[in-house]
Symmetry: C2
Subunit: 142 residues, 2 copies
């Protein structure tokens, strides 16, 4: 990959080694909107994705379905400008704080991917997932 030829990236390998990548070479990533602190989405990164994210300052994930790097918003325009990157206590989960272009993060055209809310009856006898966020724009690709 091109990113591997960037001297800056070679020099930052120690911080990449600090991350505990799972058995598939991936780390879970939580994306939070900086202004609202809304949790927008959840995705995965491999080493190249995290390197690329830091290099360009925009969220780049590893698409497990397409098995390739996924520059979030490259097709929809809903880029995520990365303002802050955190690593958790076990060094195996990443939290991105981002500026979400167009305020839409979900491939369904919603603000956040977490639009299904569990509603439980008072008796606790029944529960169901209800959609509680509107579609703001129609999207097919993200």
């Amino acid at each position: 990959m091109v990113v591997k030829n960037v001297i800056a990236v070679k020099n930052t390998s120690s911080w990449l080694n600090k991350v505990h990548w799972n058995e598939h070479g991936l780390v879970p990533v939580i994306v939070q909107q900086a202004e609202t602190k809304d949790v927008l989405m959840f995705a995965w990164m491999n080493r190249d994705a995290l390197e690329k994210t830091v290099e360009i300052g925009e969220a780049v994930f590893w698409s497990r379905s397409r098995k390739k790097l996924w520059h979030k918003g490259e097709q929809s325009g809903h880029i995520q400008k990365v303002l802050d990157i955190r690593l958790d206590c076990d060094s195996d989960v990443i939290l991105l704080n981002v500026k979400q272009v167009d305020n839409i993060a979900c491939h369904t055209g919603r603000h956040s991917c977490f639009f299904q809310q569990l509603v439980v009856t008072e008796s606790g006898a029944r529960a169901e997932w209800q959609i509680v966020e509107p579609v703001l724009t129609d999207l097919e690709e993200d």
Copy 2:
């Protein structure tokens, strides 16, 4: 498990079937503090953990290391009262909104588990993880 004998839980199985459990029967869970909207931690749930969480209204996870249900805070007292449960667009990630007892979620005694911040030099030539949150209390078990 006892939880399987609760009629209420039997009746809620359809909403549990809506969740796309991974190949290990688990789903990733993001825990967010209701008042501050801080992302506190990340963990995993299996079907029994999610059932139990809804049943008691407190976060119960699946400990992959101990291979058993983990009632968060049962030893430290740092219980998480669950106010809202969301499921993402692919139905394979859960977001919990909680009231965090004592405002401490991390087993290191910190408010949040995401206390390591990536600091990159302006040139981008070097980067390192820096601890940016204080330890509020000494904990050994959580």
